[in-house]
């Protein structure tokens, strides 16, 4: 469970986050919606303890990422907007490396690599070096890294970008399985269809503020607009939305 309460963060004169509050529950997939520059990346970096907030509180399974970043990170799978692959290592070597960094033994990591690889349908690239991988292959490897150490919390920044239909389906079923296992998944995305199909809860942020939180249906009801995309635009685009 991830609880964020009135978190603010300023970089010089720029107020990146001006008051973000939400709760992402275990066993749910929570979508993080927001236009570019809304503060999503800053928020995710605060959650893993790479940055320090100015005010407010963050707890992840009861721990504060600022005070105990190592404990928090062990329970987080973080997919950034960068893949972070190494061209001179094979997919398996890469995954085992990150597994070991997360406290797994080489043997356990190797066994888990096979499981994750099966889950994401990527057996064909497991023993290959990442040089020349397609966009879809790269994100699969990065996703596998995120899931490898069985984190209780997942922070995914646009996990489906660049994936073909088959891979998107594989991702979706992987996320559904994680939800059933009781994981807490936060997923930043711009694909409304994905939100409608997959997510239990939606957080909308704009200009560094939480604008709304609720299920897709609740958001539509609140705005009186049946289409989620239009509802999102209305929430983000109006002064009322930002003040709410």
């Amino acid at each position: 469970m991830i609880e964020v309460d009135d978190v603010r963060k300023k970089f010089g004169a720029v107020q990146a986050l001006g008051g973000v509050s939400f709760t992402a529950r275990d066993g749910q997939i929570t979508a993080l919606l927001g236009p570019n520059g809304a503060g999503k990346t800053t928020l995710l970096r605060l959650l893993v303890g790479l940055l320090k907030r100015d005010t407010g509180s963050i707890t992840i399974d009861g721990a504060d990422p600022e005070k105990d970043p190592m404990a928090v990170r062990t329970n987080i799978g973080f997919l950034t907007d960068q893949f972070g692959l190494y061209e001179r290592m094979s997919t398996r070597e890469y995954l085992v490396y990150f597994g070991e960094l997360n406290g797994m033994t080489a043997r356990a990591a190797n066994e888990r690599v096979d499981e994750v690889s099966h889950l994401l349908v990527m057996d064909d690239i497991l023993e290959r070096r990442s040089k020349g991988f397609s966009q879809g292959q790269r994100i699969k490897v990065a996703l596998a890294r995120t899931l490898l150490h069985r984190p209780r919390n997942l922070l995914l920044d646009e996990p489906s970008r660049g994936l073909d239909v088959m891979s998107t389906r594989a991702l979706r079923s992987a996320l559904t399985a994680l939800r059933q296992d009781g994981c807490c998944v936060i997923m930043a995305t711009h694909v409304m269809q994905e939100v409608t199909h997959l997510c239990d809860d939606v957080i909308v942020i704009a200009k560094g503020h939480t604008v709304a939180q609720g299920s897709p249906q609740q958001l539509c009801q609140r705005t009186g607009i049946p289409n989620l995309e239009d509802a999102f635009v209305s929430l983000v685009g109006t002064e009322e939305g930002i003040a709410a």
């Binding site: 970089f11 070597e93 070991e100 960094l101």
Partner: protein, 394 residues
């Protein structure tokens, strides 16, 4: 379970060993200096030993007019080669082609002038641009000795003692010993022998920091449950390992080359035993670690591979400066020199090459002079990695 430090170290090392550019650089610097050193010294030795066996070649035009002079030259082990008269251009060509050390041209009326006791003209042609200076001087000495012996005989015939011609007697003493000479020459070359400590790890240091940042994999790494000290430490040790391997092989190779060459032929010596060379290699391990630490700390802050490379290529020249300053100011070897990284290693090897007896103190100081700053730099770099400003810039 392995420590995080060793996990990062092994992964980085494995990547470096798969990087052809890194490996090619290590191989290049391992071979380059010893081969250059061996080639240059071998060249010197070959040239220095040749004339002893074959004698000096002197070209002479019109030599038949002065049979006594020719006999005297022959006595002094100078091989005379008689040539037909030729013009200035042909002589220049001949000397440039090094077919003779110098050329003597006797004037046409040499015999007449000689017999009439007028100065008989001999032209001495030589090429001062060639490095046969000492041998040209030898020939001049033979000519002068010949001239004064004739003058002496003539004076004697007139009842005057030849000693009158020599109011001053000059005798030369050269205090330059072989060991001192070789120390100067080898000392200059030794300055470069430690440079690979900074060059072998360069590619690896840049790749694992600025390269990682440019490829945008650093943020992912920093978001793992690993202390930045372990990340920086692992990268540092992996880059340092390449330098340690490189410099150890290079020193061993240079030692082999210097031991194998007959340096005595050119009045030099290499008195370093394999045991003391092994000690030098051990004392130089921290130099590699210092180089890797400084390069990682610098490259970490560069935004791109290219920027890091240009910053580091300037930085690599800095460690050479103390050594240059010491040789330019002609400072005597002192204990403080063992506390300056790089200069310490150069001084240590130079003193050993001179055949100096040394205690363990210089070795210990050399070891620590690089190790302590290396540790401080690594601590600084990991503190820097933790800072928010660095995270934002990644």
């Amino acid at each position: 379970m392995r420590s995080k430090l060793s996990i990062v170290f092994l992964k980085e090392l494995r990547e470096h060993l798969r990087d052809r550019r890194s490996l090619a650089m290590v191989a290049l610097f391992v071979l380059m200096y010893p081969v250059m050193l061996g080639w240059a010294l071998n060249h010197l030795i070959e040239r220095a030993t040749k004339p002893e066996r074959e004698g000096m070649e002197l070209a002479v035009i019109g030599g038949a007019q002065a049979p006594t002079l020719m006999a005297q030259l022959k006595q002094k082990n100078v091989t005379v080669k008689h040539l037909e008269p030729m013009d200035e251009k042909a002589i220049t060509e001949l000397l440039r082609a090094r077919k003779a050390v110098a050329l003597l041209r006797l004037e046409e009326k040499y015999a007449d002038n000689y017999n009439d006791m007028r100065p008989a003209g001999i032209e001495l042609w030589y090429d001062s641009a060639s490095d046969d200076g000492p041998r040209q001087r030898d020939i001049e000495d033979v000519l002068n000795a010949y001239s004064s012996s004739i003058a002496g005989a003539r004076l004697l015939a007139h009842g005057v003692s030849p000693a009158n011609m020599q109011p001053v007697k000059v005798q030369r003493y050269d205090t330059g010993s072989n060991a001192a000479r070789s120390a100067t020459v080898i000392g200059a070359m030794l300055g470069f022998l430690f440079l690979p400590a900074f060059l072998c790890c360069l590619s690896a240091a840049v790749d694992s920091t600025a390269g990682e940042r440019e490829r945008r994999s650093l943020e992912v790494l920093m978001a793992q449950p690993v202390n930045p000290l372990m990340l920086v430490g692992g990268k540092w040790m992996a880059a340092g390992a390449l330098s340690i391997i490189g410099i150890t092989l290079e020193l061993a190779l240079a030692h082999g080359v210097l031991g194998w060459l007959p340096l005595e032929e050119i009045g030099m010596s290499w008195r370093v035993t394999s045991w003391s060379l092994a000690l030098v290699c051990i004392a130089s391990v921290p130099l590699s670690l210092f180089a890797a630490a400084a390069q990682i700390a610098l490259a970490m802050n560069s935004k791109s591979f290219k920027e890091a490379q240009s910053v580091l290529s300037i930085f690599t020249l800095v460690p050479m400066l103390p050594g240059l300053a010491v040789s330019m100011l002609e400072l005597e070897t002192a204990d403080w020199m063992y506390t300056v990284p790089m200069l310490a290693n150069q001084t240590l090897l130079r003193e050993l090459a001179k055949g100096q007896e040394m205690g363990m103190l210089p070795f210990a100081l050399t070891f620590l002079s690089s190790l302590l700053p290396a540790l401080a730099i690594v601590a600084f770099a990991s503190w820097r990695m933790k800072s928010e400003r660095y995270v934002l810039a990644v």
